[in-house]
């Protein structure tokens, strides 16, 4: 860095970073500050005045059965989405890595669902699983199972997990395929000569060498499940039935915009910011380490 040629100007660099800083200040720092401020306040029922209440909003939140439940819901939801989408994409990537002919075609056919918005994925899966007209409930009924995610919370959770995971498979597939293709063939062939079976080779060579990719995808998928699946929840279940699919991000919206409980919503925002902060640091530490390899 020290030897780098630099231009000299007092005002030009500030002019160059001005747009970025202005947007950051107005739409990131200011709202984040507001959220922190509001999380310590309680507006009166008419929204005319606010009162400083310290930690009360947080105390209230952690005492709230529904909020604690939404932690658990979020954990179950994110783990399921991550496991399902990573499992399916690893399988597909291993298969695609094994074929010599046509792997380009398979890749093209598998990556374009990336372009589908989570909300649209929600609409499509809702259509397929709609209890009265959907194709799957019709098939399930034929084998004696009555599907109704509008009433059954387990089914509602399964449906939002499937719709969220489906969209993410393309992304994971691309990274797994790239990771697999970076593993030297000679290692696998050496193991084969020593008599290791395909499953044994996969477990003892491929999987460990793939672990950086896997860990990276783990973080990315958890972040995705936490923050980008709002559209899926909103189109399919709106948090219901009951509160069974009320993930934390959805609850911020539901309490803030529908419930108009601004203090609580702001406190939830602050908690989410802390979670994003931790996830970002984990991600960066890991990436730093990878760069140094």
């Amino acid at each position: 860095m020290s030897g780098r040629v630099v231009f000299r100007s007092v005002w030009l660099p500030w002019l160059l970073v001005a747009p970025q800083l202005a947007i950051t200040a107005v739409f990131f720092l200011w709202p984040a500050g507001e959220a922190i401020l509001q999380s310590t306040q309680l507006p009166d029922p008419f929204g005319l005045s606010t009162q400083y209440v310290g930690w009360e909003n947080f105390d209230y939140l952690f005492g709230d059965r529904y909020y604690r439940a939404s932690f658990l819901t979020t954990a179950i939801f994110s783990l399921s989405v991550t496991a399902l989408s990573m499992g399916v994409s690893l399988l597909l990537a291993v298969l695609a890595d094994g074929v010599i002919r046509g792997s380009g075609v398979y890749r093209t056919l598998l990556i374009w669902p990336y372009a589908v918005a989570p909300a649209i994925s929600g609409v499509m899966w809702l259509f397929i699983f709609q209890p009265s007209i959907g194709l799957f409930p019709y098939w399930l009924k034929a084998i004696g199972y009555n599907w109704n995610h509008v009433l059954n919370s387990g089914e509602a959770m399964s449906l939002v997990v499937i719709a969220s995971a489906w969209k993410q498979v393309s992304y994971n597939f691309l990274f797994f395929l790239a990771g697999l293709q970076a593993i030297p063939r000679s290692l696998i062939e050496a193991a084969a000569i020593d008599g290791a079976s395909p499953w044994h080779r996969f477990r003892t060579i491929i999987l460990p060498l793939l672990s950086p990719t896997t860990f990276f995808l783990l973080v990315i998928n958890v972040v995705y499940a936490f923050f980008e699946t709002f559209g899926v929840i909103h189109t399919i279940t709106a948090g219901g039935p009951g509160q069974s699919t009320m993930i934390m991000v959805y609850k911020v919206y539901a309490d803030g915009f529908i419930g108009q409980d601004l203090g609580s919503s702001a406190a939830q925002s602050v908690i989410l910011m802390l979670i994003v902060g931790v996830l970002t640091i984990v991600q960066f530490r890991f990436i730093e380490r990878r760069v140094h390899y």
Binding site: P13, Y114, A115, M124, V249
Partner: protein
Amino acid sequence: MVRNNRVATVFTHLLLILGIAVMCLPIWLTFVGSTVTRAEIIQPPLPLWPGDQLLLNYREALFGGRNAPVLQMLWNSAIMALGIAVGKIVISLLSAFAIVYFRFPGRQLVFWTIFLTLMLPVEVRIVPTYEIAVNLKLLNTHAGLILPLIASATATFLFRQFFLTIPDELAEAARMDGAGPMRFFKDILLPLSRTNIAALFVILFIYGWNQYLWPLLITTDPDMNTIVMGIKRMIPSADDYGNWPVTMATAILAILPPALVVIVMQRLFVKGLIETEK
């Protein structure tokens, strides 16, 4: 040597085709749903082969529509996606240029301020951001759809990384020839960054197009809705059969532009995806 026998190869291909079929099934059923009549949908099972109502349903979706015509929503989505993609790229190019090629007091501070935006996705700060946008009179405007999403730490980092790989000699030579910083930026840095810009554009276009929560808050007027969020209002509720074929046609229309971008610019897309996450 790893044995590659014929049976195993055929088996692998079959499994792959099965996997692709499962992955494509929802889109296929959505497409079928957009080509049949309402009566055919209300009486399950849904046929597995497209019907003959394609033109009718798409025409109704594009020009009729229950809230706003889809054509209008597509237009809003296009403005939003292009605005976000172009805006993010311009803003990030400029700030990365400043951070790499200038030494100024507070440079580290600027860098960390930009980094902070990474940690604050719009989903976690919706209520205050919404209030600020309303105060700034951004409700129901294209600027309101674009501006709050336009700052990008990722793009800035990407360009910073890239600028750091450009040999110093280039800047030195430019300086010796008497070129000022902006001349260097325009004539040397920009042409060198062309591939990176294009790759990033693909990713950011899809990001902008697929936004849901922010348009949901900031556009209350149906004529300002984007297609990805506008479709929510077209979903028939549980006890009314609504117009599923038109809703499904809208879903296909919402997928088409970003899907085409991914397929046509596949190489750039993969490059962009892998580099933005590094």
